[in-house]
């Protein structure tokens, strides 16, 4: 549905290098990477808001030379960018070629805000504003929807809930989505496939499962939450304190999360996280030995 070949963007210096990425019809692909890695620039290139080289095509139609407003590409921004001089209904209907109150009402119902038509946008909460922004982006039925850290400005609880809701809406309607985020939980929750972007290059494009189990390099491994020791990636539950452990770890922190303790520490400058039970929990500052264990046995 959306295909990018050798896309490059330069401002004063190159920001994106030779991006090749394919997003299938109805697929949700999430670009994951640190801030300043060129994620938003890639979306802006697809939307036609920055100049790029290489080719971008939607539904087989090349977008070369097509201005932003004729691309049939929708976009949701980090801060909702609702037009402050228009009410909710006018915002949602902004992208429609003619006034269509029925469609506006339908879109608002879709995002759980039925009856909000005549509210002023500055009276909406952060979560409501993002829902209106979603309704506005979906109303013109874009071929591809771009999400630029759409939940970045929301608090954690609201974000977790809204990510699920939005994902449900997008799946139900079969929308093709390219999203960007720096939050791996958000990426794993929403996406069919995750594309890891590092310094303007795509490092690995795969399902969450594949990234976790077969990361192509240490960078991807660390990004998805694995600990890298002697060139091998370990999930938290495969490491444990043992007296004869191969690695000496200095404990830097302990967290109780989701029913278990997580211990974080440093081995030769490398950050490591592993699970622990309450009895063998080490103190911060202590040096312990850890090794791989088979979680099944």
């Amino acid at each position: 549905m959306l295909s990018m070949t050798a896309v490059e963007v330069s401002y004063d210096e190159p920001v994106l290098h030779g991006i090749d990425l394919e997003v299938g019809p109805g697929e949700i692909v999430c670009i994951l990477g640190p801030s300043g890695g060129g994620k938003s620039t890639l979306l802006r290139a697809v939307a036609g808001l920055v100049d790029h080289t290489g080719s971008i095509a939607v539904a087989g139609r090349s977008l070369a030379g097509v201005p932003a407003h004729r691309r049939g590409v929708g976009m949701m921004f980090q801060d909702d960018l609702l037009f402050p001089h228009l009410d909710v209904a006018s915002n949602v209907g902004f992208g429609l070629s003619r006034q269509d109150p029925q469609r506006v009402a339908q879109m608002l119902e879709l995002v759980g805000l039925a009856g909000y038509e005549h509210r002023a946008v500055d009276t909406l909460s952060g979560g409501q504003a993002q829902r209106v922004a979603l309704a506005r982006a979906l109303a013109p039925e874009p071929d591809v929807l771009l999400l630029d850290e759409p939940f970045g400005a929301l608090d954690v609880v609201l974000k977790a809930q809204l990510v699920l809701e939005v994902q449900q809406v997008l799946r139900d309607r079969g929308v093709t989505v390219l999203a960007v985020t720096h939050d791996r939980h958000e990426a794993f929750t929403m996406a069919d496939r995750v594309a890891v972007l590092r310094a303007g290059e795509l490092v690995q494009v795969a399902t969450a499962d594949e990234l976790w189990n077969k990361p192509v390099d240490a960078y991807v491994a660390r990004l998805v939450g694995l600990s890298v020791l002697d060139g091998v990636a370990y999930p938290p539950e495969e490491l444990r304190i043992t007296a004869q452990g191969r690695w000496a770890l200095q404990v830097t922190g302990r967290t109780f999360l989701d029913g278990r303790y997580l211990v974080s520490g440093v081995v030769d400058g490398e950050s490591v996280t592993f699970g622990s039970d309450a009895r063998s929990l080490p103190a911060v500052g202590q040096t312990v030995h850890i090794d791989r264990v088979d979680p099944a046995g």
Partner: protein, 522 residues
């Protein structure tokens, strides 16, 4: 984008000012030096500084409590009062001077004659400038996050220490900036001193006019202009024209007053502010309807007796002349000032751009500009005096700083990603501008135009040089009527003042309807 405003400023400001000095130098450089060295000149400079200092102090004294109350407390009628305190600022100086003449003049309503004394000037200047302090300081106070002071408190600072180390430093730039602006306005004030001074009070600005218009001593006028210009530049260089920084969130942090002390304080400040603002305006209407203590409409009848040959001033055509020139000048100021604001907002603010800003100080001497324009473009080979164009150009020049100061922050504050959002929703660039940028920027444009119109229709210092004797603008006509004997003429002068006041007030009310509170001037 900046080329047009820069050229305009060069031609309309630098060339006229240069013409003043050229004429001075041609007729007698030694005479110029003599004037500058004379004890009389330094006396005048001393008085100019003195009255400006006193006026600034009085303005701060009255405006700061009002700024504090309006920014801190929420109470019924707050929006109305915020709009009301802006009214004096846009009132024409001649109208204000006439009002204070009616209050504290020889036959003043308050029974004390302060005309010809420095205290009359101080009161009128205070009235004119309270809005500057209330707006500049108020905008900082209103956006001051109370959590900053709370943060200081939990870090162990006492209430006083928190105020001294957090609130005060945040407030200081705004206080300094507003005091500087008020001082400059008072330093170069013309209409008020000319009308209220009763010929006895001489500031530099008034003396420049007197030397030119009555004594025809151009070298002396040029010397005084140069002195004044140097003084203004020196002040700007020493104090710096830094605006008050906003402290962050645009959230209104006002709260309801608690307890009888706060409520009483709020009520007292509100009542005092309303009286200070409304009394001078009300007295104008009263005086226009009073002759020898009796109610009469003779003054108004004279105002509208069009074409009365015995009447050297035809107030009705003065209204038309005023509307015509102010309309043209506003249009011109919006065009040139708009381009300047656009250039300043979208090109960063480095190096020589700053000097464009500095070239348009609000404290420019209007009399020098008027005199200069007359000398540069008012005699052969280029005589534009009878075209009416000179007044339009001079008034536009005076209005441009106001336009820039309203439009530039609005333009640089406009989030251009709104245009991106419109584009991805299928709006072409033109339709995105029309549907998003225009409505979002319209309030600032209307406010800028309103300010420009109010400033130009009340402009006196430059216009008085350039208005043709037969076809004066309203402020010029009012000053002439006030200077002539006869109770009826004086009543007519107040009637004309009332008309000018109503036109200006209508503009302010119109501005307020587009949410004046969103655009912060100066």
């Amino acid at each position: 984008m900046l080329v047009v405003p820069v050229v305009f400023l060069l031609v309309m400001f630098v060339v006229p000012v240069a013409a003043v000095f050229r004429v001075g130098l041609e007729t007698g450089p030694s005479q110029m030096l003599e004037v500058m060295g004379a004890g009389r000149t330094w006396q005048i400079l001393g008085f100019t500084v003195l009255q400006a200092v006193l006026s600034t102090a009085a303005t701060m004294l009255v405006a700061l409590p009002a700024a504090f109350v309006l920014a801190t407390f929420r109470f019924p009628g707050r929006g109305l009062i915020r709009a009301l305190v802006l009214v004096p600022f846009v009132m024409p100086t001649v109208v204000v001077a006439a009002a204070f003449l009616a209050l504290i003049g020889p036959t003043g309503a308050l029974g004390v004659d302060l005309s010809g004394s420095v205290w009359g000037l101080v009161l009128a200047h205070m009235f004119l400038n309270i809005a500057v302090v209330i707006r500049v300081v108020g905008s900082v106070l209103a956006t001051m996050d109370p959590r900053l002071e709370e943060a200081a408190r939990v870090l162990g600072a006492s209430r006083w220490t928190a105020w001294r180390r957090v609130t005060w430093p945040l407030l200081r730039p705004a206080l300094r900036a507003s005091a500087l602006i008020v001082f400059l306005f008072c330093f170069t004030s013309f209409g008020v001193v000319q009308v209220l001074g009763a010929g006895q009070l001489r500031t530099l600005e008034v003396e420049i006019y007197r030397q030119t218009a009555y004594l025809l001593d151009l070298p002396a006028a040029a010397a005084l202009s140069l002195l004044q210009l140097l003084a203004v530049v020196a002040m700007l260089a020493v104090v710096g024209n830094s605006g008050g920084a906003r402290t962050g969130n645009a959230v209104d942090v006002a709260r309801a007053p608690v307890g009888w002390r706060q409520r009483g304080g709020v009520a007292a400040v509100v009542v005092l502010t309303v009286v200070v603002v409304l009394a001078p305006l009300a007295i104008i209407v009263v005086r226009s309807l009073m002759i020898d203590g009796r109610l009469t409409t003779v003054g108004w009848q004279m105002l509208f007796s069009q074409g009365d040959s015995t009447n050297a001033v035809d107030p009705f055509s003065a209204v038309l002349a005023s509307l015509r020139t102010a309309g043209g000048a506003t249009l011109l100021a919006m065009l040139v000032g708009g381009m300047a604001a656009f250039g300043l907002a979208f090109r960063g603010r480095g190096g020589w751009l700053r000097s464009v800003d500095a070239l348009m100080p609000l404290g420019t001497s209007a009399v020098t500009v008027g005199l200069g324009m007359l000398l540069a473009f008012g005699r052969p080979p280029l005589d534009l005096r009878n075209t009416g164009l000179l007044i339009v150009l001079a008034q536009a020049l005076v209005a441009i700083p106001f336009v820039v100061r309203v439009l530039a922050p609005a333009l640089s504050g406009f989030d251009r990603r709104y245009l991106d959002a419109a584009a991805v929703l299928g709006r072409s660039p033109v339709r995105a501008l029309a549907g998003v940028a225009v409505p979002l920027l319209l309030p600032a444009v209307v406010v800028a135009a309103g300010f420009a119109f109010a400033v130009t229709i009340g402009e006196f210092g430059a216009t008085v040089f350039l208005a043709s004797p037969a076809d004066p603008t309203l402020p010029v006509a009012i000053s002439r009527l006030l200077a002539r004997p006869g109770e009826v003429t004086v009543a007519a002068a107040y009637a004309a003042s009332a008309v000018l006041m109503l036109i200006t007030a209508a503009v302010v009310v119109g501005m307020d309807r587009v949410r004046l509170s969103r655009a912060v001037a100066f």
